[in-house]
Symmetry: C2
Subunit: 154 residues, 2 copies
């Protein structure tokens, strides 16, 4: 049984909302081939992709330096209500280096607190090269998005 | 440079709080060897471990049926404040089958809404066989917990 619904405009709008609203992600990386989930700050720039500014000292940055495969869960559960009915988006792909100086203004306009450490040499800006995504809009509302679906959102 | 502090009683108490307070986890599994992070309900029973009740139809249950290695991030970011200063706990390990009938009363006492589907045959109760954990209590407050540290909490 395929639990996925066909993608529609409501699901596309919800995907865009979750991407635009995410300030952090649960970041899944591989450590010695096993999954490791940590929290990382993130920022979606429409038309440019999803970015993470990570310290080289962090466990996730170390893991990604060895294997760039990763997954991000966006959409924190709210303080109220059933967290399993809260919309969330699973992104799968790999990180690639981003142009940190070129993206400085756009990043800091949306994350002003990062001004303090953006230029530190041990902070690296990574972009998610997206593979596939899973949108879960609550019980019974699951969608699968291809790379093309995601590109069409921006 | 090792960014971890030595484990102390405050860090142990914080770990216990995060475990006891978690109703959901960001669950990292492997799909075709790549990380996939999804949201799953969870319940910590002191002295017995961390449990997840998963539908066989879900992506994470399918992934775990192939490879039981997983990681759970506990500690949802609050609605207020900087999410990267919010305490969170990364657990790493593997799932193993749990005794669903034997744990029914303890599980439903704490998760009464699950009464509706607990007995469905396509819902499976899994227990996390813990390896190691990482506690992040906010900026500069990172701790590494071994299996023995975690066992001593219960």
């Amino acid at each position: 049984m395929d639990p996925y619904r066909p993608l529609d405009d409501d699901a596309r709008a919800l995907t865009r909302d979750v991407l635009a609203g995410a300030t952090t992600a649960a970041l899944g990386t591989l450590r010695d081939g096993a999954p490791m989930v940590t929290r990382a700050g993130c920022l979606w720039l429409p038309g440019q992709g999803l970015f993470m500014l990570l310290s080289d000292l962090s466990d996730h940055a170390r893991a990604l330096a060895v294997d760039p495969a990763c997954s991000l869960l966006l959409g924190e559960a709210g303080a109220r209500g059933d967290p399993l009915t809260h919309p969330r988006l699973t992104l799968m792909g790999r990180v690639e280096p981003a142009d940190k100086p070129a993206l400085r203004a756009a990043y800091l306009a949306r994350r002003p607190k990062a001004t303090v450490y953006y230029d530190f040499t041990d902070f690296r800006l990574l972009r998610l090269a997206l593979g596939e995504a899973l949108l879960n809009g609550g019980f019974g509302k699951a969608y699968r998005l291809t790379r093309a679906d995601l590109d069409a959102l921006a």
